[in-house]
Symmetry: C2
Subunit: 403 residues, 2 copies
């Protein structure tokens, strides 16, 4: 069970966005593995994708389609990533879009395809296309929770979040779902996330808000340092509330709410990280730049030695110190740096803080949620990264997945 | 048991170098945890150390002593790294050197201290100094195997290697020992390694030969991506054979033999990597530079998803492809790149090679020693990195070590 998971929230609907869920039996029979979003005609869309050079066929195709026209449908399958599939993969994704376009009566380019699951297997188009009519017929206002289940792979829980915010023109809704558990070190977005609002925004404002939100959320989490081939996040603004986000003040409020929403979804991915038993926040402060703060934070977040010590609830702080030391920052003032576990100072003056006791360290480490704080004492920048521990179950999940 | 381990070789002695081993009971009573090398007066020494900014107190002190005078003794303890110990750690290391200098009748600066073990605990000087007399009395020509055992931490086997080479002046001996199993991503050297020859070399030639050898060996291995705070390698040339390495030809032969020796020792560390069940060679060829080849090789070698698939003997080649894709190289020609598992081509033309079969992939993956080959098809540089898989035992060892 995900660390600190409080159940799926009551999402309700977002006017202008309908969702259908169906079963194509891609990986196993009966699993509801196909999800369709239908966007009302005036919906404005922004999307960010993985920077993995070997990006999946649906990522390549979705980018092309986005450049051509405004999306009306998002077609998502789980159970197969359609990645590492070369030209054949591109053809397969195109055939799914073509078949849906024929059913829905829209342009092929108005459909964005998304896939998640095993890399390198051919996408079973013949299982997907016969279900598309059923999928369209299933469209409803209230299928967000079913969709959150429909996009899961090794996730153990469905992930959703919601905000209502007051803007000058009235109250708007902002909500989303996400999936992801392993191969998580988003460098642009994360595995898959879909957020929608009934507000109206220009495409450039929506894109800017999404970029800002993602940089503080999905770009600040890591389970295992592996960037997926299929990462994507889509933001949809249906405008169905007839409330426009135009003033600088409203846009700032919208961006802040979208960031909060994305942080909640990104944290849910970490809470459900493969084999995770601990939710870790790494805060690096007083750096010269955000980049160097991230460098230190990721050195800690990716260290298998730190992650196994966290799993063992062992305050083996020497491993944290070693990770900071190998992060590659020049001219570190080792005497000035402090490292905290929660409120407990563990490192000061280049070694163990004189006030530190093993008992105090153990008390922090025993908790399910742990904050590691590193103060570099050489600037005013900071960064926060979320990660999880490394357990027997991580090895079990990844040694047994696929086989 | 280490992968493909063939037992400790019959090292014999290196004229001019004597070794003593004793028990100080640093971590547990009776364990032979102190090793002393005595170098004949004319011995020339070269050493390389970790680049971890939080380097251990003995590393700092050894560098200072090396700059001051030629070493006569190397004092090594296991069970405590004396790292993350601040000023007190430096004082503790100095006190050990002072006590030994008094016993041995040499300058304090003629002693190089080395420590390995848990980070952050005070070095128990009071346990070490009473044993120094016994350690000096134990010095003998034939204690290389005992020394290899004496420097182990989580190592499961002692590591040694030997070469005899013909130079223009006659036959010389070159041999060494090493320790290391976890926190292995040497960025300069590895955990601890000591190599000795009875040949005579100038300090600059020995340093150059060592640097060349280390770049091809200890700088090309990774278990977990974590660079230790205590890494060090020392090369000692006693000159006791009265054979000098002076001509360019002899120096080239000596450097080649030293490189081979270091590669064998470095590979032994990987074979004994924490929890390792597989020995992995990653060869990246046809890159634009050695640096970019290393970048790709380490992206594969550090991927927990690749490592757990290797543990499961699962030819989940999509994870290898994803690691290549996220390595951060610009303008990769995805259509041109090929990826091999052993002799089997798995990726060609951006996807699974048409001739690939799961059965062929499984056959390669079932072996204990596996080579992953990546051909970038864009230059003439190459790099080879050695690594191991990621097993339940890695988590067990690192979750339970120290506690």
């Amino acid at each position: 069970m995900a660390v600190g998971y409080r159940g799926f929230p009551d999402l309700g609907s977002v006017a202008g966005i309908r969702i259908g869920v169906a079963s194509a039996g891609i990986k196993r029979p009966g699993r509801r593995d196909l999800v369709l979003f239908e966007l009302a005609p005036a919906t404005v869309t922004a999307a960010l994708f993985t920077r993995n050079a070997f990006c999946a066929a649906p990522v390549t195709l979705a980018k092309r389609h986005l450049a051509a026209t405004a999306p009306r449908y998002l077609l998502i399958n789980t159970g197969n990533a359609n990645a590492g599939t070369g030209i054949a993969g591109l053809t397969a994704a195109t055939r799914c879009c073509q078949a849906l376009a024929a059913h829905a009566g829209c342009a092929v380019e108005a459909i964005l395809p998304f896939s998640t699951g095993v890399i390198g297997e051919p996408l079973p188009v013949e299982k997907i296309t016969p279900v598309l009519g059923e999928l369209l017929a299933a469209l409803s206002d209230n299928a967000w929770e079913a969709a959150a289940h429909g996009i899961m792979t090794t996730d153990t829980v469905a992930k959703g979040a919601k905000r209502s915010i007051e803007l000058s023109g009235g109250t708007i809704t902002l909500q989303g779902i996400a999936k992801g558990s392993g191969m998580i070190r988003p460098d642009m977005a994360t595995m898959l996330a879909y957020v929608a609002t009934d507000a109206a925004l220009s495409q450039s404002d929506l894109h800017q808000a999404l970029t800002t939100a993602v940089n503080q959320s999905f770009n600040r989490i890591t389970v295992d340092g592996d960037t997926s081939t299929n990462d994507a996040i889509v933001a949809m603004a249906s405008g169905a509330s007839a409330i426009s986000v135009t003033s600088a003040d409203d846009l700032a409020r919208f961006t802040a709410a979208l960031s909060e929403l994305c942080i909640e979804l990104a944290q849910l991915i970490i809470r459900d990280g493969e084999g995770a038993t601990k939710f870790i926040t790494i805060e690096v402060t007083s750096g010269r730049s955000e980049a160097e703060c991230c460098q230190v934070a990721y050195a800690i977040a990716h260290s298998p030695l730190v992650k196994t010590a966290l799993f063992a609830s062992d305050p083996n702080w020497g491993r944290i110190l070693a990770a900071v030391g190998r992060a590659g920052l020049d001219d570190l003032d080792l005497e000035a740096i402090t490292i905290h576990l929660g409120d407990i100072c563990i490192v000061r003056g280049g070694g163990r803080d004189s006030g530190y006791t093993e008992a105090a360290g153990q008390q922090v480490m025993a908790a399910e949620e742990i904050t590691i704080g590193v103060d570099l004492q050489r600037g005013s920048a900071s960064a926060r990264v979320w990660s999880c521990d490394f357990s027997y179950d991580y090895v079990k999940i990844n040694a047994e997945y696929r086989t």
